[in-house]
Symmetry: D2
Subunit: 222 residues, 4 copies
């Protein structure tokens, strides 16, 4: 039996944060996945928070590795739970410049691309399993218009135009406790989640995705 | 050398929550403290969320054990960090009935007591150490008017009228992740904190309190 | 010179709220618009919070009135500002049953429709003008998956398939102060906005849309 | 019949905000109160956000005017409702320097003062009436440790030591909509309240206080 090929991506730090929890999760996954999911083959990658470089790196990975499943992850400062994103939209609209100083305003990701792609991960089943496992989680209907939405769209566009990856989607994660511990804000301390729970969330997401892999596309959101 | 006598209290569940993280922390502490603070003697107690029973149980403990240090803990659903409470006020004003159905409105805890007591734990040093340890924490200026404020006031009133405990204060803790994972709310998922970080917060609080024990009372908040 | 034909829709109450501010705004608009925008012709309608009835009513209005501009509005309990929605997605996924007891889960609005439509209102210019006018406002990247997203999608689908309305979009509004004044919540009192500011927000939205009407479609979001 | 003498205070702007809604309310009150409460005599004052100057100005006003009732007001950025403060504590602990650059840390307001004073306004009746009038309101158990708590304590200390004012308390107000409209924050737009509702809140507070003036002190919080 052939092994499922999985690609998991995180992002480098950006926007004044010295750490990006999505990077740390991605770095911890290979050891965990080897133990818990021996039937899969995992590659991980840390993407730059820069539109052009992130696209090049992601497309190169997709074209060379041709993964069955892609889980991309990124930081959403201010949420108290992980999200499974439902939809990626064909737009770049950056509140702050990326790490290379590029700040597109209301530009399409692919001029000829559709307005949006829906996640092809079983996001409802994943969120259900996460909650049952004690991890606060929610389906989210927007991945924003910065790099998170961008890499989600690019992987789904690859699927639509090239056929791989078969299943692809995005998980947003909160700040780590050690990041919020040093926030000085007039409006209080933002929520956080332990690294341990974030790593568990990524593993559960991959497990449910593999379990549901053959269910077919008709009810992909369930 | 004599050992410091420490009393740590948590609360039973209340208000629709099946678990109270303060109880779970208190149950985990004896084993941890034995290893990490061999120079102290620890008692823990779980107080009922009932005004009359909680007072009886706490006073009996204080009068028999005569602890040097009391750290009381309770749940504050909705915060994203632990708090070190600065002040306890002489009032009972319950938004919901206690677990025995008693719901005092604007009544004093002790008719002849002062309007308020300040914590005698080194709350600023504790919060500083917690943050340095990666645990989101803040000084809080209100412990509410329910049982949390009540037991904080009672222990400080014992100190003022009987001389023990020398140092006494209160820590509020957030919900656990597994508690917020099952919340169904129109207004989103409340923040949470891992049990591991809550237990570390209690241990750090006790360590800093012991370190500062001889600093004297003049600058007790620092 | 021909007058622009504008349709503004609000919603009936739903989900336990006795009032829907979007309905009240719509009811106040005719008198205000007659004074402030004599160059336009306005129709307003209150849509039921029921998938099937709302679609029938909206399509009948669109097909008979053939408006140039549609501004639909709805309540988003919990926000502190008005939003101009950027995108409507082709999905119905209801957290609660609609007012007729219908609760679709992950169903498309139009089986053959695209995954999403972008608003054709000048949302960035509108938000800029709202803020300059002292009204808290933001572009939003999700209108949810309940009836708000639904009517936004239907109007934009009419535009794409039938050519009218030329400009169409959605504004979410917060609760009214008198609604939040009676909320009993463990987690506090949600934000609100005065009816006066909500009405001003709708008028400003229509004014900017009319001003920008001839700018062309290339930069419709600006 | 003698008229009740009322003093209402607001604060100057501070902390990066160009306006302080409490000042604007205070400036609007004389005209409103003359119409709506002809049986009272009103003085208003704007206090500097500076510990030493605010104390001098407030004590001079109290000693010369000897008001029956004092309502002090201040801004609490981030709340969505007005608060009636329950308690003032004998501490100055400033997160930021005051407008004169003075930043006391954990110092008492009066060395010989009690730890706390309770408001002598009928705060429960006021909050009830505010809510019935459609204004989001709540009793609050902390006025912080900056100038708001400070002037509340000073007026109540005057009452305790000199006998005037008979009734004294504090109302916190949110930001104005035009203030939050210009906030640029990673964590969203803070709540606000219209000036009209803030002014009504102050008038209702004074009306209920006058109505309850003869109830006696036993149940002053009701």
């Amino acid at each position: 039996m052939e092994k499922y090929k999985i690609l998991v991506t995180g992002f480098e730090p950006f926007g004044g944060y010295k750490q990006n929890p999505s990077q740390i999760i991605a770095e911890h996954l290979p050891e965990k996945i080897e133990k818990e999911m021996p039937n899969v083959e995992l590659q991980t990658a840390i993407l730059p928070v820069a539109y052009k470089k992130a696209k090049d790196k992601l497309l190169t990975l997709l074209d060379s590795y041709k993964p069955d499943i892609v889980l991309s992850m990124g930081l959403w400062a201010g949420i108290s739970y992980v999200t499974m994103e439902r939809v990626a939209v064909n737009i770049m609209d950056a509140r702050i410049p990326d790490n290379d100083g590029y700040q597109p305003i209301d530009e399409p990701i692919y001029t000829e691309g559709p307005n949006a792609y829906f996640s092809t991960l079983p996001i409802k089943s994943i969120v259900k399993r996460l909650k049952e496992s004690g991890i606060p989680a929610s389906v989210s209907n927007t991945a924003g218009t910065f790099l998170c939405n961008y890499v989600m769209y690019i992987a789904l566009h690859s699927r639509a135009t090239k056929g791989y990856p078969r299943r692809s989607g995005y998980m947003h994660v909160p700040l780590l406790p050690e990041q919020t511990a040093s926030v000085k804000s007039e409006f209080g301390i933002p929520p956080s989640m332990s690294l341990e729970n974030m790593i568990r969330a990524a593993i559960i997401t991959l497990k449910v995705t593999v379990e549901k892999f053959y269910v077919g596309d008709e009810k992909i959101l369930l």
